[in-house]
């Protein structure tokens, strides 16, 4: 099976995978690769850091993207790991079913969503993606195919949910889809003038979907201001709506000054003010609501050729407000933040020992890669550790092993399962090496 030896990157484009990629299009090719030269699976390369990167050959699963079975009576779907979640929403939404959890991009694959145990705008109620997985077909380091589930090899199954690909290659998965009462949602957007009101609004929110944009450049009495979006399925008779336009594409890397502090401040001022003081109501297609940025292909090029980092943490409820305040002050002072920053209240739902979610608040902020950013993010990671929160492995590119161990209290159990499943580390990724996720360093 030929390898593509071109270096490749994750979505953040700062780090580079050098080990090459095989890309099977048929089950037999995948089996052949896994029999001779097994490597970690990678999907749509939508994780930001080095989660999908390796200095040894990886297996690109994006062409293994077929639907294998669907039961219309109960919404149980089996599909190959490479199918994008947007495709599932597009195909099954009109038939009344949808993935129970949709992350911020529909380009993410089924396998990737499981490996990162992704969460969505309904996390507070629906939990994480892995909680809706009924079974997996996992190809191990020995090339053997195993059908695993909570009842069959339960430890291996659980470690694979959120396991960042370290337990093996997910060939296919059986998931429980959720009822999709409508392909439209009613969205309410409201200005949140500061962090305190923002958190109060999240605490009061009973919406099915909720997420907030936050102005990470805000300081003083504007600290933590933003726009809270809450959405419910449209239950009334659906009126005519415009089909989603084809995505526009960012044609080239933006110059450095595009993310300069005054530019970002001005943009954020506009972005905040465009929502009237009294709020705004609109109906959107669910795909557009879940994945607003998918309407702009290659938006990561807006951060310029050096790429960008995203810092994403989750903080436990007890000290979330205090720590968010401190973090936003630090970020605001630095003048390094990009416009893209998100605040969301999370529920307790998580599927595996290395899953990111915990009850509390998650903050995600983009930073174009430039001097000072790495140091700032390291300070934010330190604050996260101190607050007994977690950073998201699917986004991270800067943490160290000492940061991760206290955040993930089941790391020891995870390591034991992984070392048993893959004693020689054939599924070790650059992320796993950097953070010593296998516990062998």
């Amino acid at each position: 099976m030929p390898l593509n030896t071109e270096p490749y990157t994750g979505w953040g484009r700062v780090l580079t995978g050098t080990g090459g990629r095989a890309r099977p299009e048929k089950s037999a090719s995948l089996a052949r690769i896994m029999g001779h030269a097994p490597g970690p699976a990678i999907g749509a390369l939508r994780s930001y850091g080095d989660a999908a990167l390796s200095d040894a050959p990886a297996v690109d699963m994006s062409r293994m993207d077929r639907l294998l079975s669907f039961d219309t009576s109960n919404g149980v779907l089996e599909a190959e790991a490479g199918v994008p979640l947007a495709t599932l929403l597009e195909l099954f939404g009109p038939r009344g079913w949808m993935p129970a959890v949709m992350p911020g991009t529909g380009h993410a694959t089924l396998g990737g969503a499981i490996a990162a145990d992704v969460h969505g705008k309904n996390h507070h109620a629906a939990g994480s993606f892995g909680q809706h997985v009924l079974g997996l077909r996992l190809i191990g380091a020995d090339g053997q195919v195993r059908d695993i589930s909570p009842d069959v090899e339960g430890e291996l199954f659980r470690a694979t949910l959120g396991g960042m690909g370290l337990t093996g290659v997910i060939e296919s998965a059986t998931i429980q889809l959720a009822p999709c009462p409508s392909v439209l949602v009613d969205v309410q957007e409201r200005r949140m003038p500061n962090l305190a009101s923002y958190i109060a609004a999240f605490e009061d929110s009973e919406a099915t979907f909720s997420v907030g944009w936050i102005d990470a450049t805000g300081t003083g009495d504007k600290l933590g201001r933003g726009i809270l979006e809450e959405a419910e399925f449209v239950t009334r008779e659906a009126a005519f709506f415009q089909p989603r336009k084809a995505p526009k594409t960012v044609p080239f890397n933006a110059p450095g000054f595009a993310m300069a502090a005054p530019v970002v401040r001005a943009f954020n001022q506009y972005y905040y003010s465009r929502i009237p003081k009294t709020g705004r109501h609109s109906s959107k297609q669910i795909a557009a609501f879940f994945h607003p940025l998918d309407g702009l292909s290659g938006w990561n090029k807006l951060y310029g050729k050096r790429g960008f980092h995203q810092f994403q943490c989750v903080l436990p409820p007890a000290n979330a407000a205090l720590v968010l305040d401190a973090m936003l002050r630090e970020i605001g002072r630095s003048g390094l933040a990009a416009p893209l920053a998100v605040l969301k209240k999370m529920g307790p739902g998580r599927a595996g020992p290395l899953s990111f979610p915990m009850e509390g608040y998650t903050l995600a902020v983009d930073f174009a890669s430039r001097p000072g950013v790495a140091q700032l993010i390291e300070r934010l990671i330190d604050q996260t550790v101190e607050a007994e929160g977690r950073v998201y492995l699917a986004k991270d590119s800067l943490a160290a092993p000492d940061h991760i161990a206290p955040m993930y209290d089941e790391l020891g159990d995870f390591r034991a399962v992984v070392r048993q499943a893959d004693p020689d580390g054939v599924f070790e990724t650059d992320l796993a090496r950097r953070l010593n996720l296998r516990g062998t360093a």
């Binding site: 030896t5 037999a28 195909l91």
Partner: protein, 249 residues
């Protein structure tokens, strides 16, 4: 009366993309799809996939260009179909030219895979298509067939043969209401090109499928996909042979 599409070489990424475009046809038209290729286990997965995506009916047939008798059950199914017959040919193979240079016995296989097996199939089906007085043949060739190049001239020669065959076949079948579309893809992101060096302006299989559907709808005779390859190949074809023979392209 439903439309049948026989897809030869259905495992190829371009074939899969075209089959999906039929399955997910926004007009709501449903097609009966015959997936023909060597790896029938894998094609069975594609068949299920296509049905779940909305295809009317999908059947899998073993088809091996090197075993001419493998076409018989496909022809039989086609003949008993009550409705328009359409064929899309994606079958082909591209061993490295250096391998062929070392082992001349590979030549005839390349010609069989890329040209004669498909031509024989189309010839055998021609009377049945003609009897229905309608239908479309999509023959996938390659820009490599437009001129013999150092890097893949045996593959290119087989594709050139197929182009010429399709041209004559169009002439014959056009008289009885069957349209023949020759498709010449440039670089497409498939298993055949994965990891090859010197690739540029690579198109996705889905984009090629979209172009093919457009070519079918507009009854085009020959299309390059993506379209700009017509310009590139016009330049390459006009280079005089005495210069071309010294080029490393």
């Amino acid at each position: 009366m439903s439309e049948m599409w026989i897809i030869l070489g259905a495992s190829s990424a371009m074939a899969r993309a075209l089959a999906r475009s039929f399955a997910e046809d926004p007009s709501g038209e449903t097609y009966r799809l015959l997936l023909c290729g060597r790896d029938t286990d894998d094609l069975a997965r594609d068949a299920t996939d296509l049905e779940l995506r909305g295809a009317g009916a999908v059947e899998v047939f073993a088809f091996d260009a090197r075993h001419p008798e493998s076409q018989d059950p496909i022809l039989e199914a086609a003949r008993s179909h009550d409705g328009t017959l359409n064929v899309a040919v994606f079958a082909g193979s591209m061993p490295e030219q250096s391998a062929i240079d070392e082992d001349a016995s590979l030549v005839s296989g390349v010609v069989t895979d890329n040209f004669t097996a498909s031509a024989a199939f189309l010839m055998a089906l021609a009377p049945d298509m003609a009897a229905r007085g309608a239908g479309t043949v999509v023959g996938v060739g390659s820009v490599a067939g437009d001129r013999g190049r150092l890097g893949n001239y045996v593959y290119g020669a087989a594709k050139a043969g197929f182009h010429t065959f399709l041209s004559g076949f169009r002439n014959r079948m056009g008289r009885v209401g069957v349209h023949v579309l020759t498709v010449k893809p440039g670089f497409v992101d498939t298993a055949m090109t994965w990891g090859l060096e010197g690739m540029f302006l690579v198109a996705s299989p889905a984009a090629v499928a979209t172009d093919i559907r457009k070519g079918i709808r507009k009854q085009r005779n020959v299309i390059y996909t993506p379209f700009f390859w017509i310009g590139i190949m016009t330049v390459i074809r006009t280079v005089p042979e005495r210069i071309f023979k010294k080029l490393q392209i």
